[in-house]
């Protein structure tokens, strides 16, 4: 199978590096173009980048020259790890010029359609969810069948969710910060959209009520979500565990390269999931759930964990591109 050439926007940043690392051995996509800010333009990627991931940067990408972050020489398919402060305009320019931009930025995330397209655009912008919402939404998706009404959430989020340089060590070493600017407001609308139904060309949001408290903890990768859900139906714990484990989506049906065999895995051990032990399950694409037990205030309590820079960012975007490719949208 011929490889599909792809570009990475924001290639020197934290999410850009994660894209490059995940695509290093991808069976379909090959990184041949890198775009970044003016400071990096014209340099070899290895010289433009302070690589900060625990696997070495791929040799072939390291030799690429970083280009201006503008359409032109870029391949049709472009992954974007641009910061939201600049993503709006740049991604629109690429979409307007006919590129498919698979973006991790929040800018177009709440557009009514699944794919942002402005009048006159020849291309599209496709986004993935917020890095903490995804763990929540994936854990809740299997519970829709039981009449999901409301969920109360406290997150314990990893520092990589704030990008680089992100959270100063002065603030988080041996500490908890019970506040993440702008984060809590995303939980209800994004969850409702993700859990919603696609009807007549638009997404009809799921009516679940979400109340969230977002905290930052000294963990490198992996957002832990403590939650309690209210359900319409009376249902036993075994049914819920079965629902978690049996949940499958289109990526599983199509056996996409980045699709985990089981999107949600329920762990029986009483002290799991834990970021240090579970965050990299199936390449970081699985959401782990554990500690299901009755809640005397709502109905059921449990804990979920997702890899925020893979399942909640670069990996989700790549999975989106794989799905589009397999469905013939690209």
């Amino acid at each position: 199978m011929a490889q599909i050439e792809v570009g990475v926007l924001g290639a020197t940043g934290a999410v850009g590096q994660q894209f490059i690392a995940l695509l290093a051995k991808h069976p379909w996509f090959k990184v041949t173009w890198l775009g970044a800010s003016q400071r990096s333009e014209g340099k070899a990627y290895r010289d433009a980048t302070a690589w900060r991931l625990p696997t070495p940067a791929p040799e072939d990408v390291s030799k690429l020259t970083v280009e201006q972050a503008a359409p032109g020489g870029a391949p049709k398919l472009v992954f974007s790890g641009l910061d939201s402060s600049v993503a709006g305009d740049i991604e629109a320019a690429f979409a307007g010029a006919g590129h498919f931009v698979i973006s991790n930025s929040k800018n177009h995330r709440m557009d009514p359609d699944t794919q942002a397209a402005a009048p006159g655009w020849k291309g599209r912008i496709v986004t993935n969810p917020n890095c903490s919402v995804i763990a929540l939404a994936m854990a809740l998706a299997p519970l829709r069948q039981f009449g999901l009404k409301a969920v109360m959430v406290t997150t314990l989020q990893a520092i990589s969710g704030a990008g680089y340089p992100g959270v100063p060590s002065w603030d988080i070493l041996g500490n908890v910060i019970p506040f993440i600017d702008g984060e809590e407001d995303k939980f209800q609308p994004e969850t409702q959209k993700i859990l919603g139904q696609f009807k007549a060309g638009a997404i009809e949001p799921h009516p679940v009520v979400v109340s969230a408290t977002a905290t930052r903890v000294p963990v490198h990768n992996g957002h832990t979500v403590s939650m309690s859900a209210k359900l319409d139906q009376k249902v036993g714990p075994d049914a819920l565990i079965e629902a978690f484990n049996n949940f499958r989506g289109r990526p599983q049906v199509l056996q996409l390269p980045s699709a985990p065999p089981q999107p949600v895995v329920y762990l029986q051990e009483r002290n799991r999931p834990q970021p240090a032990l579970d965050v990299n399950r199936d390449g970081g694409m699985t959401v782990s759930v554990g500690r299901l037990r009755p809640c005397p205030v709502l109905d059921y309590k449990f804990v979920a964990l997702g890899h925020n820079t893979i399942r909640g960012a670069a990996g989700a975007a790549i999975l989106n591109a794989e799905l589009m490719h397999q469905e013939g949208i690209l």
Copy 2:
């Protein structure tokens, strides 16, 4: 004022050390007797103890000889930092022999009276609450006036709550453990007892429903509690903040040495309370509250923080002893 001689049971352990550190400059109490396990018996305290607190051990206590953990030479007032595995029998022996045992152990915590006394005992055992329940209970106490119905809680607990050696660094470094053995079951009964009313010689529990998820985070001291409360009355946020800040108890009325001027302090900053910044407020005896905002599922969400080894252990026990002394119970 003549100083009152006191003893410390479990003097070499983590809570015992905290008792000794807090009593070092106490205006009323002076540590003159130390009891510990057979391994330490007969040794000078400085030789028997691997001191693990950030302030040096007091010189005078360091020179005391550690005694057998049995009544006899001990003063009438004894603070106990014994592990719950041995506290039951030893504390009972002291109480039987006429001592007032101010204990941090859970063994007699849920006895129906405020002071445990078995038939024939000449003394008493007085206990303080669990180290995470206390932050919860103090933050909720001012809300009883608004018809407190239920509370949903996720704790982020410090490693010192597990004593020494306690949590292995292998397990907690850069990690979250979403489980603390036996912890969650204490939240409802202890909170109901603490918030209850003393009537006709017994405590009538408060009817609040408590649903808790307890997690361990890599923080040294300070349990953070994310919570949401359901109230009977419609009330604005300002009334709640006023209630937090105006809450006073008998220790404030009596101006006890360890009583913080304001037991609960509401912090206006949007990213507080934080263990690293707020845990030592007023010597660690104040519970800090912040982030009050409406909850779409229950009524109000907020975050509380308490020092688990001071407000939730040794400091609370000393405050109990001060109260008993001032009220003429000792």
Copy 3:
């Protein structure tokens, strides 16, 4: 005794906050003036500052209005926690206008005199050493009598040494960074100047050879220094320990408020000094030394620890001002 009014330059920064915290209960100095960058000018200090220290900001300072960082209304004595990028010009302007600037910045640290004074200045700039060199220099000072020839050093430095925001948590959480930009080059010249002799109006550097490796570790406060020294004289370990413990300086003779009773304390425990246990000894002004043992390559190995933002920054500057005041230089 009438209090001496003092100003703090760079008042909103990390070192400025430390100045304000340490001066809160100072018997001689009272903060009445604050200077900071344009962004803070005209605001109340409490509104201009994100306070990041574990003790609350003093009430009276919180109410002060932050002024422009220029001489004019400032008191004669000014403490400077300005960043070295701007300290040069601003401090010179203050010194030129007749102020005594007690600075933590490196800009004038290696001037040949103990006090920087340019022609025409009516005031002076007085600096304290680098935050890691001070622990080294204080541990070595007592060894000069034994013919100190050379020292090999590896530091394990706290993140607060890099200021705020300083080291990203992404880089240091669960990690060691074996490099601190520009740090290692300071060790030999600064140590030689500090250990040197004041002769004929200038400092004659001590000839000690210093070879340093500087690393960053996930510790909040306290630079640990592993070192090995070469001495001219044959001397037993007891003589060295006695030398550490008996070392005294002019601050001890004058009993200055910030002077620790014993500037260097040798700890007998085999696993000390440790940042978590020893960094705050005597208000953070004492350097702790331990683990003295023979070195098969040079002569003696040992470990030293100093509080980098107190003994190595704000506390050292305040001690300098106290000394100047008591010696009649102010």
Copy 4:
């Protein structure tokens, strides 16, 4: 190629788990037997073990029944992760009964031969070096050609080096412990043996003098070693870097499965090696070196990093077994 059945002694412990994880996809060796303490005997491995590694336990091993730690049903080749307190007797019993015991324990590490064999033993005990010495020895091996005379070492060791439960989080969170019991004494003799020459049936130790200070830092995996070496020959830095990069051993010649292509890799970046970024290079079997620069006290300073539980424990043992197999010793 038919797979060779192997056993793991101490299978439930930290090193035992690492053996099982590394052998999960080994091309030659297949784990078919597990031995552990009486507490685990007779249980399925999954029930006997609290798995603490970030990759899930292999399915097939999880189902094995744990046996008594005694020879009998065990395969000829046995990897031992037994604690040194019990390794002596148990490993001797296996060696006596004809097993090849590839051990990570220190008990037989300093025996004069490369393989411990007591009179009458039908088998052998083969050991690997201490987890911190290996990083030192591998970095120094390429420098023997320049007349290596002495080395001054400060280590910053990961908590996994102490096994499980190992270092209490109370002691190490946000802290440095400048002492590891018994560790420093191993550096000179083990390094001299590893760098020595095999002559006439025995190892002639290399004469290098080693002076070590061992510290513990809050890092999960990876011992960082700051060192300075004294060399007989005058040599430029480029020659040293070339020597590091060109160093090869018998495992590279034989292309053993666990042999890294380049045992020692010199990193050009000025702030490397770092545990968080470099410890897993080539499956954790490579020692990374960086920061080479002249030392004014000895000759050259540099920093090395090795994965303590892989290169310094289980991985080294497996490499030993691979070498023995390929050389026809098994």
